[in-house]
């Protein structure tokens, strides 16, 4: 089956930033992305878990975004400023997609 090269970007960022982050993606003309919940983790700022938390403050989300290679730089440049002051982790993986016209 025919597949097409693309990039899978995964960004782990603080939950209270969700709305701003969505806006930033929109402004970068990225309308396709998926947000996944995060249960807990560990980083330079210590361990954490969502269990029993009421405030959004103590949580992260994972944003997965699949885009064509040529739009990658654009996304990173528009979205990075937002992440910079925050504790987000950004990783980019090569991938193949079906139905290239979607991306």
């Amino acid at each position: 089956m025919k597949t097409h090269p693309a990039k899978r970007i995964e960004i782990i960022i603080e939950a209270p930033m969700e709305r701003r982050f969505r806006t930033a993606l929109e402004n970068a003309d990225i309308t396709g992305y998926t947000i996944m919940p995060v249960r807990g983790g560990s980083g330079r700022s210590g361990d954490w878990t969502r269990e029993g938390q009421v405030s959004k403050a103590g949580g992260m989300i994972a944003v997965v975004c699949i885009i064509k290679e040529d739009r990658l730089n654009d996304l990173l440049e528009k979205v990075f400023p937002l992440v910079e002051r925050h504790i987000g982790v950004v990783s980019i993986t090569d991938c193949e997609v079906l139905r290239a016209e979607r991306f």
């Binding site: 709305r19 700022s45 361990d47 269990e51 029993g52 938390q53 009421v54 403050a57």
Partner: protein, 323 residues
């Protein structure tokens, strides 16, 4: 003094406080006991809705008064002013940098709704009445402290960092909207509305509060376990002193505007309590450089248990003695 002690003793052996202690014990002893996030949120929504609604109904009964307006204004000013006091204290007592000190200060100007709810339930137990509109005062005290803290960080720097989104997030924060909304619903529907839903919002209230405090104990204990690495002695001390300063101020203002003894006790509690829901979230957005472990541990790990166990009985005793 004997009175305060016996009152403190009485408060301490209530199911509410013991549930908190159980949560604290469970997480400090590293038990796997935990309450799902969705359930903790549900309980918090329930408590906000119930407390707001009841406040509205009681305002509907008592009617508007100048005392209401005075209290709202007093709440606004106290919430905006307390961070400055906290900030100076932190700069004198601790070696936190400007950003972290401001972030912590924001929490102490704002309020903890659970501490407030617990105080109401202690008053109830002792049949001390209080002004229904104190819920509205609680609501107006949530946000101003955040603005004061941001001012402390950015003054002089020219930057403002206050975009429209941040304003909306602060003012239309979920708990403010729910509390104020339920307050208005209670005010509009009055006792007639209350009879429709009282077996939901009154009867199980204390029980839900128990489980919610169990959860708070679990979360606070988790924070304390991590605290050793970051919390100096002076910061712990601050977490105990600051609520007393806040309470003293609240007491003075409460007396000045002529609140009832119950009302003064609640205003003291509001001033003494530190936010752990709305303000931390706002800080993550507006001051991401501040270390969340510091402000959460101060507010949830030390000040919250302090108010629950020692603070509230003292505030109630002082308020009834003075008013």
């Amino acid at each position: 003094m004997g009175d305060i002690l016996s009152l403190a003793g009485q408060t301490l052996v209530s199911p509410i406080i013991l549930s908190f202690a159980l949560g604290l014990f469970a997480s400090i002893s590293r038990s796997e006991l935990s309450i799902p996030e969705a359930v903790a949120k549900a309980m918090s929504i329930y408590l906000l809705f119930a407390i707001g609604f009841k406040g509205g109904v009681s305002l509907n009964e008592s009617g508007m008064s100048t005392s209401l307006v005075l209290s709202l204004v007093a709440g606004l000013i106290l919430s905006a002013a307390l961070p400055f006091i906290a900030f100076v204290l932190l700069q004198v007592m601790t070696n936190l940098d400007r950003t972290n000190a401001a972030a912590v200060a924001a929490h102490y100007g704002s309020i903890s709704i659970v501490t407030f709810v617990t105080a109401i339930s202690v008053l109830d137990q002792q049949s001390i009445t209080s002004e229904g509109f104190m819920v509205a005062v609680a609501a107006v005290m949530e946000a101003p402290a955040i603005l004061s803290a941001l001012y402390l960080v950015f003054k002089g720097s020219g930057e403002t960092k206050m975009d429209a989104t941040l304003w909306r997030e602060i003012l239309l924060n979920g708990s403010i909207v729910l509390l104020v909304g339920a307050f208005f619903i209670g005010m509009i529907t009055g006792t007639e509305g209350l009879t429709q839903i009282d077996s939901f919002i009154i009867a199980p209230f204390n029980g839900v509060l128990c489980l919610f405090l169990l959860d708070m104990g679990l979360v606070a204990g988790r924070g304390l376990r991590q605290a050793r690495k970051i919390m100096g002695f002076s910061l712990v001390l601050f977490s105990f002193i600051m609520p007393l300063i806040g309470a003293a101020l609240g007491c003075g203002v409460g007396l000045a505007i002529g609140l009832s003894s119950g009302g003064i006790a609640l205003l003291m509690t509001l001033c003494a309590s530190a936010s752990y829901i709305a303000v931390p979230a706002a800080m993550r957005v507006a001051l991401p450089e501040a270390n969340p472990s510091i402000y959460l541990t101060c507010s949830l790990g030390f000040t919250f248990p302090f108010n629950l166990t020692i603070g509230i009985p003292v505030y109630v005793a002082v308020a009834t003695a003075l008013a």
